[in-house]
Amino acid sequence: MNTVNEMKLQFISKSTNESFARSAVSAFVLPLDPTISELADIKTAVSEAVTNCIVHAYPDTLGIIYIDAKITDSNKVIIKIKDKGVGIENIEKALEPLYTTSNGERAGLGFAVMQSFMDNVKVRSTLNKGTSVTLEKSIIKVNYDKR
């Protein structure tokens, strides 16, 4: 599995950047000719992961959010979203639907959405060091010759 394209983004954890981040990843994936539904899935999952960095990783400060997106020769999109924030104490618990540590109007469904909309979700985290979430999705190849 070889990487055929890659892009990296860094931006500060301001909530205005939620729409910037999902639009940028969406634009990067567009040459793969995803369906509207595949693209919406990716945008939603990226929005969830980036929002988590803004809300949970850097709760009272501004920090940097890193995105590294790759496209492989098998039409797979791999998006890593990383922060250097507070980290997650218990990942298993964090992944449970409806679990939230926030007292705002969070639904506790971010990870559930990522898992349902992407093929694979990996979470790595170290307390007080940060968190990385890797989202993977294969884009169904359209065979133009056979259409």
Binding site: S19, S37, T51, I54, P97, E105, A107, G110
Partner: protein, 111 residues
């Protein structure tokens, strides 16, 4: 009477009454950045005018993540506390999956 709330140059929510039903039409992308403004607008309207029914109309929504689910659950709580009832209408097909996953159907608000 109609009250609109704009974000940048984009309209986010438009509110109208039919008798004592408040219809809030939502527009554009609902995420964690946008949701608080919509929430404040709807809540202050509800606290002032105490509608019997609050309708959230999703027809004009082009993107929504779980912040939109939080927005729906929060309005359900608010309007219930004020003695009113919530209805959620016109969920576009592409939002059906996130709505199903959230379980808000169990609140009996989907129309």
């Amino acid at each position: 009477m109609s009250v609109g709330l704009f974000f940048g140059c984009e309209k986010m929510v438009d509110m109208n009454y039919i008798d004592d039903t408040l219809i809030a039409k939502l527009y554009g992308e609902i995420d964690h950045h946008i949701a608080p403004s919509i929430r404040n607008k709807i809540d202050s309207e509800c606290e002032t005018y105490r509608p019997r029914v609050l309708v959230l109309d999703f027809e004009g929504v082009t993107f929504m993540d779980s912040s939109g689910i939080g927005l729906i659950m929060g309005r359900y709580r608010e309007i219930s506390l004020l003695g009113g009832r919530l209805e959620v209408t016109n969920i576009p097909p592409y939002l059906e999956r996130i709505v199903a996953l959230s379980g808000i159907g169990n609140l009996g608000v989907l129309k």
